[in-house]
Amino acid sequence: MVLTINGQSRQLDVADEMPLLWALRDAADLTGTKFGCGAAQCGACTVHVDGEPVRSCVTPVGDVVGKQITTIEGIAQDRVGSAVQAAWRELDVVQCGYCQSGQIMSATALLRENAAPSDSDIDDAMSGNICRCATYVRIRAAIHDAARTLA
């Protein structure tokens, strides 16, 4: 199977029904995308498929052949993604960090759709991404910060 991941063509020996999450982590050695729940409940596995955020733990890898897959390892190539990462670092959002790849992918998707989100817009877009360290105050602040940088 050939996938396009972060702009590169990758040949992977995986079955169609394997979730994209495990194809990325176990076959493509891209471990920045995290396993948290396996049931689209926590958002730690969020990646972009053709620019849209998807939960890779419930997305069969066969469904994304021929599509552009972007993971946390490739998001810096994107102007919005790069601004989001910079804001995350500027505000030291992370604690344990395990959910933050997914948070950054969801935040990047939000800012592509809505250049100046309100707190309420952020809450709506980000409520699928759990952070057990509860870094939510800083996630909101960092999204506003990135929005200002991009404006």
């Binding site: 471990t31 409940q41 926590c42 604690q95 395990y98 870094t135 800083r138």
Partner: protein, 750 residues
């Protein structure tokens, strides 16, 4: 059963714990290392041709001037990979941008936590036990670099300056980077005395611009957690566990599992003291392992299974709360005082079992050889885990090597006192090896394995009876606590169970209010009565004693017709740090100004709570809005903390913010419940945690202090639940005494 004079325990549980832990450590054979001997011993251990300058076990400096700090504690989010190097680098006057952090291997001699007695991260002790140790380690390195420069330049050492990784002599205009001096410094003797900076000389300590060392790796996907580790030829193991306690494997049909592409083998593993037995599928990738696990056909022997439900447990706890039991603390005559009281308040407070539910489910990578074992893990309990693994494998302890990785949260879970998931991983690897599968094995628990894997924060019932005299003064406090002991049967039992009382089941009860007649009792169900496995969970006993105590004191305040802040303050005359944070939080929250009204039909309320855990008092003022439909939201939390000298103000704030969110999640939603012995929750759909849409505004205020630092990882958790409950009372006139609050309906007339 015995009577403890409160003056000897002073209801200062954190002190008790620490002193007791120190006693344990001495009893265990002098594991307590003076800060200095720890540093001295290291030179031998780490001397290496490839490492030009490693004056002690905590730092090495390479010829490029990169300063690598070796962190003895686990980074699980609390920021210790920033705090420890900050302490060392400040005394070293290193360039923060050239500081790197590396996890220490498991080694009690070099890396014991001086407040615990072995190498472990917990009890919010990371900075407190390292404050001098890491600074001395940095100061020693700096003294050697300075001497190397003085000898090279033939100038007096006293004329040499060090700043941001550069050693200079202004008089001669000479300067050199740390890297240029590293080899020369390495040839010098390690000084036995060093002078530490005065607080006003700190450059990195207390500086809000000292940034986290792990931000970049945790925002670009490169940070390595156990889940991410991969070794050549490694297999992934997924386990099937019984769904009830007291169950064993009767038979396994592995044919369907073995037929799945990528599955390599199926093995059984035995139980451990707080871990279940089961069957593991070994596969070439995680997906195949999970599929194989689901395809196993296992017949379990459930003849001795525990089949109680949460309702049964609560009934038994209510019954136990009606009977006298082991006394933890007693002053005056509580029975007489209650009999003479003008007003008596009786209340039961209940908190359920809770899962830690760290974002990274439990996992562990093991590589066995003929005569050794290597483990890669996010280790909160390093040297006890090392010992448990060595025992399981029949190896000398030094043949078990533990490589430290980041942990994707923990909240206490990765400090399992019986190494449950590690022993599962090791047993699987061992069984695999014996069956001819010789490969490194990474055990990966699913979210459901993690949530149903026991080792929960125990459920507790607190029955509180308070007496007020005719003037509204609190004259009697009687509290009976019912719940399982975490420490019975583990390494801390001798130190922490006194006269039948597990001190961490009661730590924080009535603390630290001055009440003339006081009695606190504890009933600890036996393992036979209740075999559910339990474990410390962020803030340990304080997570429930803080709730009961701070709700009860609030009930007393309102029964006496007094303001909750004023009422508390009077009872805290001898506790200036508690009073300080209480007053700071109240002032910043505008406690004495009316709370702005909500929209039509909304009721608003403000509640307050103060609680000290791990030597750090925290006060919070919470504002809530109860909507017309009876639901509510938490709008704002104003938090004040006194944690001594602040090593990193931004991380202190982060720990307050995060602990508030963590505590609020369990206040609102968190509960593990049992039905017919089975855990009813499995994933985040049934074990609800706080999401961003429920996160209130949080304001953190830090009390200035010149005292040595105390912990910040846990102390922001206990005040949240009582402050929310007290705010809901202020808004509605109704007390909530049972957590979580999901389903609580504040509709008028209900």
């Amino acid at each position: 059963m015995g009577i403890v004079d409160r003056s000897s325990t002073q209801a200062m549980p954190a002190d008790v714990v620490n002193v007791s832990r120190r006693r344990f450590m001495q009893a265990a054979g002098g594991l307590a290392l003076g800060v200095y001997s720890g540093i001295g011993a290291a030179k031998l251990a780490l001397a290496d041709e490839a490492v030009p300058f490693a004056p002690n076990a905590f730092v090495r400096i390479d010829p490029q001037g990169i300063v690598t700090v070796i962190a003895k504690h686990l980074e699980m989010g609390q920021g210790i990979y920033t705090g420890l190097p900050t302490l060392l680098a400040d005394e070293l006057d290193a360039d923060w941008d050239k500081v790197r952090v590396e996890g220490a291997p498991a080694n009690t001699a070099l890396y014991a936590n001086s407040l615990i007695g072995f190498q472990a991260t917990g009890g919010s002790t990371g900075i407190a036990n390292s404050f001098e140790q890491m600074r001395k380690a940095g100061a020693v390195a700096k003294a050697m670099l300075v001497r190397a420069a003085a000898e090279r330049w033939r100038v007096p050492a006293a004329e040499i300056l060090v700043s941001k990784g550069v050693v200079s002599h202004p008089g001669s205009g000479r300067s050199a980077g740390f890297g240029e001096l590293a080899r020369a410094a390495a040839r010098l003797p390690v000084p036995s005395e060093v002078v530490l900076k005065k607080p006003e000389q700190f450059t990195l300590i207390g500086n809000p611009r000292t940034r986290r060392t792990d931000s970049r790796g945790k925002t670009d996907g490169s940070a390595v957690y156990t889940q991410d580790m991969k070794l050549p030829g490694m297999l992934v193991a997924a386990s099937a566990h019984p769904t009830r306690y007291g169950v064993t494997v009767k038979s396994v049909d592995a044919a369907a599992a073995l037929a799945i592409a990528g599955v390599v083998g199926v093995v059984q593993f035995p139980a451990s003291p707080r871990g279940q037995p089961g069957v593991a599928v070994l596969a070439r990738n995680t997906w195949a392992a999970f599929q194989g696990r689901d395809a196993l056909k296992i017949v379990w022997d459930e003849s001795a299974a525990f089949r109680s439900s949460s309702a049964d447990i609560l009934t038994a706890y209510r019954e136990a709360a009606g009977k006298p039991d082991a006394v933890w603390t007693q002053e005056g005559d509580v029975a007489a005082a209650l009999a003479s009281a003008e007003t008596v308040i009786e209340a039961d407070y209940y908190v359920p079992y809770l899962a830690h539910a760290a974002m990274e489910p439990m996992n562990c990578l093991v590589r066995l050889s003929a005569d050794g074992c290597e483990i890669w893990n996010g280790e909160q309990w390093q040297t006890e885990d090392q010992k448990a693994v060595a025992q399981r494998l029949g190896l000398p302890i030094e043949r078990v090597t533990i490589h430290q990785l980041y942990a994707g949260g923990s909240f206490g879970r990765r400090a399992n006192p019986t190494a449950d998931y590690l022993l599962e991983a090791v047993s699987i690897a061992q069984a695999a090896r014996e069956s001819g599968i010789d490969a490194p094995v990474k055990l990966v628990w699913s979210r459901e394995d993690d949530m149903r894997g026991g080792n929960y924060r125990p459920a507790y019932l607190h029955r509180v009876r308070l007496g007020l005299d005719g003037a509204g003064e609190l004259i009697a406090w009687h509290q009976r606590v019912v719940g399982q002991s975490i420490v019975k049967g583990i390494v801390f039992e001798a130190a922490l169970v006194k006269d039948g009382v597990d001190l961490i089941s009661v730590e924080g009860c009535a603390d630290p209010y001055e009440i003339p007649n006081l009695k606190v009792e504890l009933h600890t169900p036996t393992v036979t009565e209740n075999p559910i496995t339990v474990q410390w969970w962020r803030s340990v006993g304080h997570s429930h004693t803080g709730f009961a105590t701070e709700c009860a004191i609030d009930e007393a305040a309102s029964a006496s017709g007094q303001d909750p802040l004023v009422f508390r303050r009077k009872l805290l005359a001898k506790h200036p740090r508690h009073r300080g944070v209480l007053e700071l939080a109240a002032e910043k929250a505008g406690w004495n100004q009316p709370l702005p009204a909500g929209a039509a039909g909304e009721r608003r309320g403000r509640g307050i709570a103060v609680h000290q855990s791990f030597n750090t008092p925290v006060a919070q003022v919470v504002e809530v809005t109860v909507r017309a439909d009876g639901t509510f939201k938490v709008d704002r939390v104003v938090c004040a903390v006194d944690c001594g000298i602040v090593v990193n103000p931004d991380i202190v704030r982060a720990q307050m913010e995060g602990g508030i969110g963590f505590g609020l999640g369990t206040t609102l939603h968190g509960a593990i419940t049992f039905k017919d012995g089975e855990t009813e929750q499995g994933n985040f759909d049934s074990f609800k945690v706080l999401r961003i849409n429920e996160m209130p505004r949080v304001e953190v205020h830090i009390m200035p202090s010149a005292e040595p630092p105390t912990g910040v990882g846990e102390p922001s958790v206990p005040p949240v639940a009582p402050a929310v409950a007290n705010a809901l009372f202020a808004a509605t006139g109704r007390r909530v005494r049972s957590l979580p609050l999901d389903g609580a309906d504040f509709k008028i007339g209900t």
